[in-house]
């Protein structure tokens, strides 16, 4: 009755750019976390040799 059937596929298609954009921004944050973690681990593992 006036309500359209919700389709996940059409929703994803319609909002692909928005969703992909959100994921790429979260990816940027995840990359920062990963690089920072690697730097911290490296520092901690190098210290005993200095």
């Amino acid at each position: 009755m006036g309500l359209r059937k919700f389709s996940l596929v059409s929703f994803l298609k319609k909002n692909f750019d928005f969703i992909a954009g959100v994921l790429s921004e979260i990816g940027l944050a995840a990359a920062i976390i990963a690089v920072a973690m690697v730097i911290c681990m490296l520092l901690a593992s190098v210290k005993p040799f200095l």
Binding site: V22, E25, I26, A36, M37, C40
Partner: protein, 504 residues
Amino acid sequence: MIPAVTREDLKVIGYNLSKICYVTGAVLFLPIIVAVIYSEFDTIPYFLIGSAIAFILGCLVSHFLYTKKEMELKHAVCMAALAWLLAPILASVPILLSNATASGLDACFESVSGFTGTGLTLTLDIDHLSHSINFLRHFLQFFGDGIGIIVVSLSILGKTEMSSVLAFKGEAKDMGIRPSIVRTSRMIIKIAVAFLIIGTILFTAAGITAGLDPGTAVFDGLNHSMTGYATGGFSTRSQNLLYYHSVWVEVVAIVVMVLGAINFNLHYVVLGGRRREILKNIEVRVLLFMLLTFGLLVSANLLFTNFYTSGEALFRKGVFHVISAQTTTGFQTVPPSQFMLMWPVFSMMLLSAAMVIGGSANSTSGGIKMLRVGVLLKSFWGDVKRVLLPRTAVVRGSFHHIEDTPLTDTVIKGAAVITISYLILFSVGTAITAAHGYGLEDSMFETSSALGNVGLSCGITSPSMPAVLKVTYMFLMWAGKLEIMAVFVLFGFVILGLRKGIKK
């Protein structure tokens, strides 16, 4: 010659301020839903009184100062500066009535800290605060700083498109990304709501893994998502994020903080399909450079002073606070007193520098802004090249921010003026704090936190701190939010009115 202040000028400013009163009144209604959900019926009158005061004031102002005159840039700038004072004062009423703070001044401080997205708090017992008042504190940050109260007020209630465009400029959010201001506002709200939902889901999941019951995890998740995206830093816990002792909560907080620190224009183009823009943008590059450099230096300093020895601790205490400072959020995973009493001075100085630099322009972040820092660094590098290259060589500078922009003298001057103004205010704030007996590095830390709208505290900000410092920090938060220039325009307007009188 600068024209004298006229009655019509005051009417235009006042009439537009009445819309801020209406929207603040509406904002104060929302926590009533939370009060009903948690059966905190005794708090409902506080919100009703606050809301009624805002609506009555709005009605009176719009009745007596009604005008058909269009807003000009000077009106918009003065209106924005006054709006960031008026809205916090109105919103402090429920906080004051609920006795969440020790005095009216503290309630105002809390409200200014909320609206400006700072996060320094004077609330007495956050852990036992009612849900509705706690929600209000967080919602003030999300609505005031995350979405932008002036933008929403004038987009919805503004007479013309032009008044809203000028208001954007007035509160230092010169967007220029959409053909229509209504569409711009819709886009800002859409982005904010999308990240709010994502943040809430992630924080809730992290909270449950940290041992919270689902109800508490959702409440804390929603509030932290609001303040994380708004780069505000208020927390539902007196110990801030340290309360959870959870690496997942901290990881989610970093993701939300980084998202909040990204320029709205960049959000818009990236979410519109130009995803590669994220790596080309000058602000993102400066952000990455600053985070990794400061993160490395702070971690190395903490490690070699034997303060933290494991990689995990360096990340969770060192890098986390660098990101919290740089994005101007203020989430904290160490007690404030630990900063003051135990952290190495070098790390404190680096965190202060990160707070002064801040996040992206046109984002929810404060500080000088990375775009300006990027412009100044590019200009500096251009000057170095000019010296090194032959005299006949032509050095043309440009930077990439959504599109390639030439590095003109006007752009460099604009960045330099704001930077110098920030540094002057920073020096004055540090001097006033140090004059109250605090150490220099602690004074610099707390001042940069207030001026950069950050919220990290080394313990100076507390209900027992001198009233002069409370007022100083309120001024710094206000001036920092408006990127200083609007404050001087307002002062100039007032001085002009006092010297030349108000003409008809």
